[in-house]
Symmetry: C2
Subunit: 412 residues, 2 copies
Amino acid sequence: MPVLPYVLEKPLPVPGFKVGSASCGVKSADLKGKRQDVTLIVADVPAQAAAVFTQNAFRAACVDLGEKTVREHATDIRAIIANAGNANAGVGEMERVWSQQLIDLGADAAGVESHQVLSASTGVIGEPFPIERIQDAIGEASTSLSEDNWMQAAEAIRTTDTFAKYASRQFEVFEQNISGKTYTITGVSKGSGMIHPNMATMLGFIATDAPIRTEILQDILSKVADVSFNSISVDGDTSTNDTVYLLSSGLGLGDTELEDTSAFEQALTEVAIELAQLIVRDGEGVTKFISIEVSGAESEKQARDLGRTIAVSPLVKTAFAGSDANWGRIIMAIGNSGSFIQSDKVSIKADDVLILKDGNLHPDYTDARGMAVFAKQEFTLAVDIGLGDASATVWTGDLTHDYISINAEYRS
Amino acid sequence: MPVLPYVLEKPLPVPGFKVGSASCGVKSADLKGKRQDVTLIVADVPAQAAAVFTQNAFRAACVDLGEKTVREHATDIRAIIANAGNANAGVGEMERVWSQQLIDLGADAAGVESHQVLSASTGVIGEPFPIERIQDAIGEASTSLSEDNWMQAAEAIRTTDTFAKYASRQFEVFEQNISGKTYTITGVSKGSGMIHPNMATMLGFIATDAPIRTEILQDILSKVADVSFNSISVDGDTSTNDTVYLLSSGLGLGDTELEDTSAFEQALTEVAIELAQLIVRDGEGVTKFISIEVSGAESEKQARDLGRTIAVSPLVKTAFAGSDANWGRIIMAIGNSGSFIQSDKVSIKADDVLILKDGNLHPDYTDARGMAVFAKQEFTLAVDIGLGDASATVWTGDLTHDYISINAEYRS
């Protein structure tokens, strides 16, 4: 059961973009017609593009090709084609051929050139890619293209995700030529195993009509990815295919370039954090959603690395699962971060319950008070290492029997 | 159920050492008299000492004190006192006081000076240390001192270990003054959670009568620890207290210093690897024992780091648990090692079944053949990254429901 105590708001259409999907039976032929598994996002005009990719040294061909396309054609992107069910990774020499064929199919379906198309594949690694099944059914994606189909796109990129993930924000701009104009950002994402900083088996596609050119988009996306997609962890594993694409139609639609991108950056940060948190909320086997706020670090990177070390520790995650305020495991994880730590400067709080203050157990702390917080479905673990002023937040879930069942008993 | 398809041989006595134990109820008073939880190892003569300690930045006081004692008195060590049930870690200002008191109790019980005593504590982190209960019962450890008590020592340092771990080797020396003499090495160890390279919640005490002085002992122990205790992983967590002590009585007993220590190093390596492997075999929830042999690396460190990355991946470990030859997860883990990897040079074998050859699935490989290996209780995963001549082996287990139960449902 995902940790989703609220209902997602319907994603907003983004001027300049249409979305369609198809049911191709990518994972196995008998799924054809049963679930949507190919997504097509089409820009009516040349879009400005930005991207962040997996840090895994084994990168799937779609990542290599996507990076090349963004590098060479970042002001002229017209479509994204994505499939679930097969990652087209680890399959040797055919991988690049199949990946290019998928791009060509996307170009045909969108009525654009292949060099204008980005692709992404997610699913099982190491199995032959069923390009013919996609070819047979990709027509559905073209005929279903609509401004209002973002929810279907979110649906069609799911693998083991239990719900479709999407988020939208709007912001208003007050500049000389475009006073009072409202722009939209809509994104979709998918998890849910191999989730870890540096882009896990994670796809994110974000579209906006804000008129911003590629160089600035890329700077903003790289910055935003650090505090969103790179700040979540389900199991510490990072996949071969992780990709976030950000496309902007605004300049293509004839709008004047934004001078001040701060409202855009703020809205994009909110969209990206929401999409990233949804991945944790739907993490394999996750029953709890924990925010780990690290402060007192000497750099944001130190804070984030420390948060990640806590977030991936199996002993910490099983303590979360067991509602056990076993803070000994938390200091163990802090000590393992590889950072310089002064144990007598470390303080730990769970929600409003102070556990450790400057390395000593707080006199008011009792196991019962700690347990009351750890029993909650959502709580915040605040760790202050007392060395500097930098901070970062990492979001994670617990490690449960269901994670084992999902990953030991099925091939995902 | 541990993966232990053989019966351990009884540990051999080591000239110059006596061992005793006591039941103090360290973890809780009602365990007193029910299980042995304090161990005393006494050298009849000043012993030469060497040590390796946890790399965790949160180090327990016993580690700090032990390191200081080895630095200052490495040629004059007379005892080790160790307790299970409480790690005396993360308890703030009293930690060092209690740790020193434990050493003082050990010195009294052994009839030696405090500066000649090393200590180690293992068990739950963050709970007050019951020094009075140890004081009350430590007498039992002195009265039970005997050359033949190594098995009891192994028993008394257990925490969640399901069996006592010990190993012995003997080797013969042919040198001018000591031709044909046989020396003994006997060691005990304990696991079994927080097990990871760089000394996990792991204790190892090894004694020998081989006449070797401290500097050489330390060099050899550091080298041996890398290929044994630092080459195992249960869950990727590293504890605050991990310690391996190596004591030698030989010089104190009046033997001439060994000129050639190669036979000793070989025997010590065997003892240390056996003690380390026993920890994996008894890892929390472990049902399989997997040797990960990495070759073709540019350095031994690269090979070992790569092996560790594979060994700690939850997705790989759950695939082991599920007997699923999901080699896609293995290449994912290889890609996450942080090393430079050329995917078209990577080959993977499970026992004698070649899966991947130079980045391509081997034509003879079938899922059924892979599954047949992954279904075994013990197997070897050989990964060749095709870049150089260095290699290393790492041992690990699978990640199962029992690991979750042990760590989510009990406070360990």
